[in-house]
């Protein structure tokens, strides 16, 4: 009987445990995590939780009795301090040595901090954990003036939620457009319009230099722009939690380097979820993806590897964000260098498909048009050359191109 130890009780850790149980009814499965809660999904933190419409038990996905029923030994509040690959064990904060046959590192990422003067002030927050979200939610009740640093997904979701709670909100983004890492410029412009329509003040191309803590608030100095806020929320990306792996001599490079099934440079040690940097067939290179989809499904490939089964993780990349009345979904890689075919439909819905130089769909962006996600995914997977003129006609259904 194999004993599998999983470090990290986030979504990827939970999914690894579940997938393993499906494949191996006999395995001993230990799920260890520093967080005090059972595994929960993070997407609602910046939306439902901040809006105060607490999703409650749904946040935890599984019922309290689930882990015992599946014979998953869930140990919350158990921080792992070290991995010793030579003797195949992990050492916890409480100095307990736990032996493994296979080890899965699913330590996720943490919010990147601002490395600026004044950033250590307690009124400067990040959003990553349930505690972060609950603390921020509580503070929004007084309708503080909010400055969001970073116009990416988290920053804009926080901006939308805080605005909906009645707070005055300003977003500072260093790039010249919003969500620059995941959507083409024309979509960024639409997102800017959405936020301005909801009275979010946007400063693009605006790099923060320092935060001056004052008794009356925080003064943000961004060169040409100076502003006062009561609360600063920093959303400038994630940093993978690789310290444990690195200290154990496992190969890392902005993530733990793995193959398509999560195998690291060390035998019997795997990485799952957003901490892993793995070769993705869609991109044709190694990527590290911070997305619900990867945390949900890449662990199944890891579980297969542990059980001696083949099958790389190879889904068409997909992620979503919900901001105000927008549901935005991004599939594949809508790189700004591609031609973007826009297919608008009634009710301000949009499907935009990015074609490469050979007319193959490489990415798609959907605004309130989720019914096109499945056909778009198939277009991206099919790799067929598409007729741009025909595709530009929204009256021609996408099914016709499959």
């Amino acid at each position: 009987m194999r004993r599998v130890v999983i470090i990290g009780t986030g979504q990827a850790g939970r999914r690894t445990a579940e997938a393993l149980r499906e494949l191996d009814p006999a395995a001993e499965i230990l799920l260890l995590g520093a967080e005090p809660h059972p595994p929960y999904d993070r997407p609602p933190l910046s939306k439902a939780v901040l809006l105060g419409s607490n999703p409650g038990n749904a946040l935890f996905v599984r019922a309290p009795g689930f882990y015992a029923e599946k014979r998953i030994d869930l140990r919350t509040g158990t921080r792992v301090e070290a991995i010793d690959p030579a003797v195949r064990c992990v050492l916890t904060e409480a100095a307990e040595a736990i032996a493994y046959d296979s080890l899965v590192i699913a330590t996720g990422a943490q919010a990147r901090r601002l490395a600026l003067p004044g950033a250590e002030d307690p009124r400067v927050m990040t959003l990553r954990t349930l505690e972060d979200a609950e603390a921020l939610c509580a503070r929004l009740a007084d309708r503080p003036r909010i400055a969001v640093v970073g116009g990416g997904l988290i920053g804009l979701e926080v901006a939308a939620s805080a605005r909906q709670r009645g707070c005055p909100v300003t977003v500072l983004e260093a790039a010249d457009r919003l969500m620059a890492r995941c959507v083409p410029p024309v979509i960024s412009a639409m997102a800017a319009e959405l936020h301005r329509r909801h009275e979010v003040v946007l400063h693009l191309g605006c790099a923060l230099r320092s935060i001056l803590p004052r008794s009356f608030g925080l003064v943000l100095d961004a060169g040409a722009v100076q502003l006062e806020a009561d609360l600063v929320v920093v959303g400038i990306g994630g940093v993978p939690n690789i310290a444990l792996a690195e200290a154990a001599g496992i190969a890392v490079q902005d993530g733990i380097l793995t193959d398509g099934q999560g195998r690291t440079s060390h035998a019997d040690i795997y990485a799952a979820g957003e901490v892993a940097r793995f070769p993705h067939p869609f991109f044709g290179r190694r990527v590290r993806l911070e997305a619900w989809q990867v945390a949900q499904n890449q662990p199944a490939a890891v579980a297969r590897a542990i059980c001696g089964q083949a099958g790389d993780y190879d889904e068409i990349p997909w992620h979503w964000t919900d901001q105000f009345d927008w549901n935005l979904q991004v599939l594949g890689d809508p790189d700004p260098s591609f031609e973007l075919i826009q297919r608008p439909s009634e009710g301000a819905r949009l499907t935009a498909i990015a074609l490469d130089g050979e007319g193959r769909a490489r990415g798609a962006v959907l605004i309130n048009n989720g019914r096109d996600a499945t056909p778009c995914r198939r277009l991206l997977a099919g790799g067929k050359q598409l007729d741009a003129v025909l595709l530009r006609d929204p009256a021609v259904p996408l099914r016709q191109f499959l």
Binding site: W318, W320, G370, A373
Partner: protein
């Protein structure tokens, strides 16, 4: 006490093209499949979204927001992020009209 409500004309329902309707406070997605017309609760059990605005294929409805899939005949939640099934309602067709029991 559940009652029958006339909700649509039969000819309004094209194959695998969901129709969102409302009976009082209850939102319902009606779908014609090869073996008949089925009715499920239109609201995704994960987050608020109308399943009738999603993609429909192979007897399944896909939530337009987060791609959770439901079996139209049984209401069963087939894929995450949804964990909870949607309700189903009895359907009958009489004289070219579709009735749902709610």
């Amino acid at each position: 006490m559940a009652e029958w409500h006339r909700v649509a004309a039969e000819e309004e329902l094209k194959p695998e093209t969901p129709l969102g309707i409302r009976v009082g406070e209850v939102q319902i997605a009606l779908v014609r499949l090869e073996d008949g017309i089925f009715a499920v609760n239109d609201v995704c059990t994960h987050e608020y979204a109308l399943l009738s605005e999603g993609y429909c294929e192979d007897g399944k409805l896909e939530c337009p927001l987060h791609q959770a899939c439901f079996d139209i005949r049984t209401g069963k939640a087939l894929t995450e992020p949804a964990e909870v099934d949607v309700a189903t309602y009895p359907v009958k067709v009489e004289g070219g009209a579709v009735f749902v029991q709610v």
